[in-house]
């Protein structure tokens, strides 16, 4: 964008939201060029609206100036969802972080998009309720971003993902109109379920300004088990056996040996360092049913080769196990300077063979690949470890990622279970959808966004590979050289 046009845009945005909350200064906008993915791109302007009306006003200005709009909440997207690849205005929501209403009678809350996921559940717990979807990033990601990506999490196995817990949205359309779809009621009417359509649309149709979410009573007890296996295959088989056996656990998470070592080093939760794989299993219920199911799941694990099954004795032990799991991605920093996380899904029964194939890719390419994932619903998160400062490694890792996604698609699965297509996988989406499928989606998108200005360059293939930025620390070189890998994980 030309300097004069950008300055005019900045002025108009400042008029709409106040001088402090809109900026175009190259220094100030730098922060908004990246999210939790490796890609970066600078926006033309950044705006921090204080309420829905201001969001709508911003969208009207953007329509007028014909510039792209990128909504950004917690910016924990792992798919480059908030990276403004085509420039334009980044709208961000730190000021819209209020819980507007708690309606315990009807089990609903109304929140602004900037409310941090965990803080909603923290506000509810003392009242005996919680908000179920719990992405591992829940301390940083927001309800708005969760709606953007239809976020999942460990406990979505039994209770469903974001879309199953959102009953209404207020959105600002690209034209600048503010509209409400759905609302407090359960979604039960005939008519187009626009709430369901907009959840997971990654900011490509509208900007979410308000969210109606369901509240769930906290279960009387949650029992957590750690089942320790010598290899991944027997752990995977145990998962299928549990699910098929009529048990509906609240969560089934799996970690392989490499992940266990990283997690244990970081969290000291008591994960066994020599195990080939562990399952973290949880059931919710009343004391009687939880005790019985814990016993049944333990038995199934043992029948499938678990060498040991531990039950968390108290809440502290349980929290420690979960802290280890939820901190798994960050713990990878102990194994290698960089990691690249994938998000494939396969039918549960295909887990053993797909994990074997990923192991084979690792052996062939020499890159270590960790697996820490939502096994209950077949949602894999292979983490490829690498060092971005070693020439050629980043490209090699991207090629591995591509191969793994193809593998998942060919196994009857999907290229993303919860992180979204974003920028990262916009070409990989072709592994699961053909031209006709994508054409219909594009038609639907144009109903909302005829000029294609909402988060452009995301979700749909462009024919061009996603622009790749070599990861760069701000100061140039990495401060200390990465230790040799062998030293780290023994």
């Amino acid at each position: 964008m030309e300097a004069a046009a950008r300055a005019r845009l900045g002025r108009r945005l400042q008029e709409a939201v106040g001088a402090r909350y809109a900026f175009v200064d190259p220094y100030e906008i730098r922060l908004y060029q990246y999210d939790a993915s490796p890609e970066t791109a600078l926006p033309d302007a950044v705006v921090i609206p204080g309420n829905a009306a201001e969001v709508a006003a911003v969208l009207r200005i953007c329509a007028d100036e014909a510039v792209p709009v990128v909504a950004r909440c917690g910016a924990t997207s792992l798919a480059g969802g908030t990276v403004p690849v085509e420039g334009g205005v980044v709208i961000t929501f730190p000021r819209m972080d209020r819980i507007l209403e708690l309606d315990l009678e009807n089990l609903r809350a109304v929140v602004e998009p900037g409310v941090v996921n965990l803080s909603l559940s923290q506000a509810l717990r003392p009242l005996g309720f919680y908000y179920v979807p719990d992405p591992s990033s829940q301390g940083a990601c927001t309800i708005g971003g969760n709606v953007g990506t239809n976020a999942g999490g460990p406990h979505t196995l039994l209770y469903g993902v974001t879309v199953n817990h959102v009953t209404g949205l207020e959105v600002a359309l690209p034209s600048g109109e503010l509209v409400q779809v759905g609302g407090r009621k359960a979604v039960e009417a005939t008519g187009y379920d626009l709430t369901g359509l907009l959840v997971g649309s990654e900011g490509t149709m509208a900007v979410v300004t308000k969210v109606w979410v369901k509240l769930t009573p906290v279960p009387p007890v949650s029992k957590t088990l750690l089942a320790i296996f010598t290899d991944l295959r027997s752990a995977s088989n145990a998962v299928s056996a549990i699910v098929k056996g009529g048990i509906l656990p609240a969560a089934i998470e799996m970690m392989d040996q490499l992940s266990i070592q990283a997690v244990e080093a970081a969290s000291h939760a008591g994960y066994p360092l020599d195990a080939g794989a562990v399952l973290l299993l949880e059931v919710d219920g009343i004391p009687e049913s939880a005790a019985e199911l814990t016993e049944r799941m333990g038995r199934i694990c043992r029948e499938h080769g678990a060498r040991e099954v531990r039950v968390a004795r108290d809440e502290a032990e349980r929290q420690a196990l979960w802290k280890g799991r939820k901190g798994a991605f960050s713990a990878m920093g102990r194994l290698a300077p960089d990691f690249y996380v994938m998000d494939g899904v396969v039918p549960r029964t295909r887990l053993p063979e797909v994990l074997d194939a990923i192991g084979a890719i690792s052996d062939r390419t020499g890159f270590k690949i960790c697996n820490v994932f939502h096994a209950g619903d077949g949602n894999l998160h292979p983490l490829v470890l690498f060092d971005a400062f070693k020439k050629g490694q980043y490209e090699a890792v991207l090629a591995i990622g591509d191969e793994i996604l193809k593998l998942c698609a060919d196994a009857g699965g999907s290229v993303t279970g919860e992180h979204g297509i974003g920028l990262e996988k916009r070409e990989n989406i072709r592994y699961v959808f053909d031209e006709d499928d994508l054409a219909v989606m594009e038609t639907v998108r144009r109903v909302f966004d005829p000029s294609g200005r909402m988060n452009p360059g995301k979700l749909f293939p462009t024919g061009r590979p996603a622009p790749r930025t070599e990861p760069q620390p701000p100061g140039g070189r990495r401060p200390a050289p990465a230790p040799a890998q062998d030293e780290v994980w023994v």
Binding site: A186, D377, G417
Partner: protein, 372 residues
């Protein structure tokens, strides 16, 4: 199917004896097509689009009265020949079904593996999977198990252009592309013809138990049902029934009001829930009623559309489960009903009452239209 030139309307003439089953809001189509595969269905749509013909999709014909009357209705596209279960892997808890498969037929297949689709739309012997999705048809257990949108993981749709496009997929967790399953759920076939549906399924509950309690006053029955909704172990279905409606459901109505409760889950949970129910009933001045559950009670509640007897009321309160599903609209309606002290809406079950598009809203007390 006979196809003439590109502008002629596909299908064959509707025979006299077919007319009644294909009539929608009094409008009778001139032609009918029973496609036997995806391509034929899509081809039919393309020809209809070229000829400017109006198409209505007919599944089991149980919900054809939903929505505004058709402005044009030239061709009935009947899905009865698309009735196969295409894939089913019990250990994955997923299946892929053709749209014309009957809900009951699918349940029977799943039942062989101790599984089910936990949705209970009315008339499952006639209703089709595609129709259930298009009409967003749910039953009284919706509060416990969620509605159609919670179980559909993939969809294949033919569009008027003749294109066949998919969305979602075969896995239980998937955010690739737009969630067009939601758009077609409840769309009444206005966007395209649903040809295949991919579903999540679940293990059948270990145990199911029906309890009945008698109450003298409606408020007591309602308050008891609502109190149970606050518990962790809520019933899967709770139906508050007055004497006349009770009689038509086969309930032995000694008291003016009966609360029928269906408890489902693991054995231990059902036992504990039963104890909680007894406490709640007593504290709301009701009495537990022993006796057999009428064989057709739950099917009767599920299929309840309009009472034969216009004075009768059937109410079903459903209650949130740990999965946080609830029907607040229902609860407030129940409360309003108690407050007003009258007989309440005659076409009571809100899982259908709410399923009215705006054109038909606000007709709660008008004479109910019977299901076709």
């Amino acid at each position: 199917m006979t196809t003439g030139s590109t502008t002629s309307i596909p299908g064959r003439q509707v025979a006299a004896q077919e007319r009644q089953g294909l009539t929608v809001d009094g409008v009778i189509p001139s032609r009918v097509v029973h496609p036997q595969d995806l391509e034929e269905a899509a081809g039919t749509l393309r020809l209809c689009a070229q000829a400017g013909a109006g198409v209505v999709v007919v599944g089991g014909g149980t919900q054809l009265r939903l929505g505004a009357p058709p402005r044009r209705f030239d061709v009935a596209l009947v899905t009865d020949r698309l009735d196969r279960l295409l894939e089913y892997e019990p250990a994955d808890l997923t299946c892929r079904v053709q749209a014309g498969m009957k809900v009951e037929a699918l349940q029977a297949e799943l039942g062989r593996n101790g599984q089910w689709l936990p949705l209970d739309p009315p008339s499952p012997d006639r209703a089709t999977i595609g129709g259930m999705v298009a009409a967003n048809a749910c039953g009284p257990a919706r509060a416990r198990y969620g509605s159609v949108r919670d179980w559909v993981i993939g969809i294949t749709v033919a569009y008027p252009s003749g294109a066949i496009a998919r969305a979602g997929g075969r896995v239980v967790k998937n955010v690739a592309g737009y969630d067009l399953m939601k758009l077609h759920t409840g769309a009444l076939g206005t966007l395209g013809v649903i040809l295949e549906v991919n579903l999540k399924v679940q293990a059948r509950p270990e145990q199911s138990l029906t309890l009945q309690a008698g109450f003298d006053r409606a408020e007591q029955a309602a308050a008891c049902a609502l109190a149970l909704t606050r518990q962790y172990l809520q019933p899967a279905v709770a139906a508050a029934v007055d004497r006349r409606a009770g009689a038509s459901l086969g309930l032995d109505a000694e008291t003016p009001f009966t609360l029928a409760l269906r408890l489902e889950g693991y054995r231990t949970e059902v036992d504990a829930a039963a104890a909680l129910v007894e406490e709640a009933v007593v504290s709301h001045r009701g009495r537990m009623r022993a006796g057999e559950r009428p064989a057709e009670l739950w099917a009767g509640v599920r299929d309840w559309v309009a009472p034969q007897d216009p004075e009768a009321v059937v109410l079903a309160a459903w209650v949130p489960t740990p999965s946080g599903r609830t029907a607040p609209s229902w609860q407030s309606r129940l409360r309003a009903w108690c407050r007003s002290g009258q007989r309440g809406p005659r076409r009571a079950p809100c899982w259908r009452g709410c399923a009215r598009p705006p054109a038909r809203r606000g007709r709660w007390s008008s004479p109910a239209r019977r299901p076709s």
